[in-house]
């Protein structure tokens, strides 16, 4: 980071911090308020499932491709989930071409854990021939515009795509009819940042860039935690974490009921 970038960061930090002290955010939201969310599904006909997610200024497209493949040796009768996310240079002046860096890898792995660990997909129903052939579910997140909180937008897009995706059994001569992806749960990820001791949900790009740390909490339909990830250098106290977990579970319920009805 150049010195001028470092100075700008300090100035932005001051601005957002001073607003926070007055109980405000730069875009006028309450601390626990999400930006406007729009989810359109089946936007890519070629994909087995897809969703375009707009979360404030953040725009991304998630595509799900499903095709037969070999199972992992340790789970011969289970389908496979593979999640990928790339921060391509189209989406931000600070993203660079090349193999995914640690930020992109972390995002992809947290999206993946949310889907996997909540048991959202009944993988046993994606087995075709045990030990030989299973359905592989590829979840690819394409970030188009980074307006902050790619994490939650990507997780929303992944689950919205899966909820509308079809397993292409007919195309591969594996069955008479295409079937729905066997969904059992609808995990939702909620990300919070700590700015000067105040917890804010759904950080904008500026809030995200000045916050020392993000905490993502993914919870399932019954309100249990399926995955968590602290990301960033700044430590959190037990009280802060406990508080975030509580509001994250409530907020996840709200978003699930509004946008992700099965």
């Amino acid at each position: 980071m150049s010195l001028s970038d470092e100075v700008m960061t300090e100035l932005r930090k001051d601005y957002i911090y001073n607003l926070m002290v007055k109980g405000e955010r730069e875009d006028g939201r309450a601390f626990d308020q999400y930006r406007e969310i729009t989810i359109d599904t089946n936007v890519i006909e070629r994909a087995e499932g897809s969703a375009r997610v707009q979360l404030g200024d953040t725009l991304l497209v998630v595509g799900v491709k499903i095709q037969p493949g070999a199972p992992f040796p340790d789970t011969p009768d289970q389908g496979v989930i593979i999640t990928n996310l790339e921060l391509i240079p189209l989406a931000s002046p600070v993203f660079e071409a090349g193999p995914p860096r640690e930020d992109a890898i972390e995002l992809a792995r947290v999206v993946d854990r949310g889907v996997r660990e909540s048991g959202a997909i009944d993988l046993s129903k994606l087995c075709i021939t045990p030990g030989e052939k299973v359905w592989m579910v590829f979840i690819d997140v394409h970030v188009l515009d980074d307006g902050g909180n790619i994490m939650d937008a990507a997780a929303l897009g992944a689950i919205a795509s899966l909820l509308t995706a079809k397993v292409p059994a007919k195309r591969f001569n594996i069955g008479e009819e295409d079937m729905d992806v066997p969904m059992r749960d609808v995990p939702v990820s909620i990300t919070a940042v700590d700015i000067g001791g105040t917890i804010m949900l759904d950080p904008s790009l500026d809030e995200e860039s000045i916050a020392g740390t993000k905490l993502t909490v993914t919870s399932n339909q019954e309100g249990a935690i399926s995955a968590m990830q602290k990301s960033g250098v700044h430590p959190l106290t037990t009280e802060q974490i406990s508080y975030i977990v509580d509001i994250a579970i409530d907020k996840a319920k709200e978003i699930r009921e509004k946008f992700l009805v099965i």
Partner: protein, 244 residues
């Protein structure tokens, strides 16, 4: 191997531990000669070596920061450290583990003392038995101190998990593979959480209890880390007493 029928029976786990019991920990401070600081650590079946180089010149130079040191952490697993040979080199998992481990240690390092320089931390997992990232952080924290890097405190790390609906400390391999949740935590002695990850299934109440268990375990580990450092450095002082 198939899932054992029961992972915990009447408060006793498969390896004989109680739910809140850690595996044995062995620490050797300054195990390497070339590194500026180093530590070899065993946690149950985990064997990890940590080395610290720096502060030193940054290569490549564009990575340098003008107002602080750049801290880099490379977590790497030896190909022979696991049952099925692991392909050498960084994979997606180790890149993520490296990132969160670095972030677990950065808050205690006085990075601003060393602008335009690098502090490199290397952790090599020689044998893995679940909990390698926590073992790595514990070792790296000691190696940083051994290298004389100015730090606010040590960082201690431990995982909590859930097996057969019981919360347990410091999961072993079977508990990790067949358990219901795994939550690695790292913290400073004053209770600031510097690493928190979780996957699996925990209710809010279980989560709170798990975090408390992790806190207790980290305190125990901190005492061991501190004792290992005191042992090395007190013996180097001529006839002196241990300085508390």
């Amino acid at each position: 191997m198939n899932r054992p029928e029961k992972l915990i029976e009447g408060d006793i786990r498969l390896d004989g531990r109680r739910p809140d019991e850690l595996r044995p920990i062995k620490i050797k401070v300054g195990a390497l000669n070339r590194a500026d600081g180093s530590c070899y650590l065993e946690l149950g079946g985990n064997k990890v070596m940590a080395a610290v180089y720096g502060p030193r010149e940054v290569h490549p130079r564009h990575m340098a920061k003008s107002t602080s040191a750049v801290v880099r952490y490379r977590y790497s697993m030896a190909s022979f450290s696991v049952e099925e040979r692991k392909r050498p080199g960084p994979d997606r998992r180790s890149i993520e583990v490296s990132k969160v481990s670095r972030e677990a240690l950065e808050p205690v390092i006085f990075e601003e003392y060393f602008p335009r320089s690098a502090i490199d931390i290397f952790v090599e997992v020689l044998q893995a038995d679940a909990g390698t990232r926590t073992a790595g952080i514990n070792a790296a924290s000691i190696a940083l101190a051994d290298a004389g890097i100015p730090m606010k405190s040590l960082v201690s790390s431990c995982a909590v998990g859930k097996v057969d609906d019981t919360l347990v400390l410091d999961l072993n391999k079977d508990e990790d593979n067949y358990g219901q949740a795994d939550m690695p935590v790292a913290m400073t002695p004053d209770g600031n959480i510097t690493l928190l990850q979780m996957d699996g299934h925990l209710t809010r109440d279980e989560f709170r209890e798990a975090l408390e268990m992790a806190k207790g375990a980290c305190t125990t580990i901190y005492e061991l880390q501190r004792a290992a450092l005191v042992e090395k450095y007190s013996s180097q002082m001529e006839g002196g007493d241990v300085i508390e």
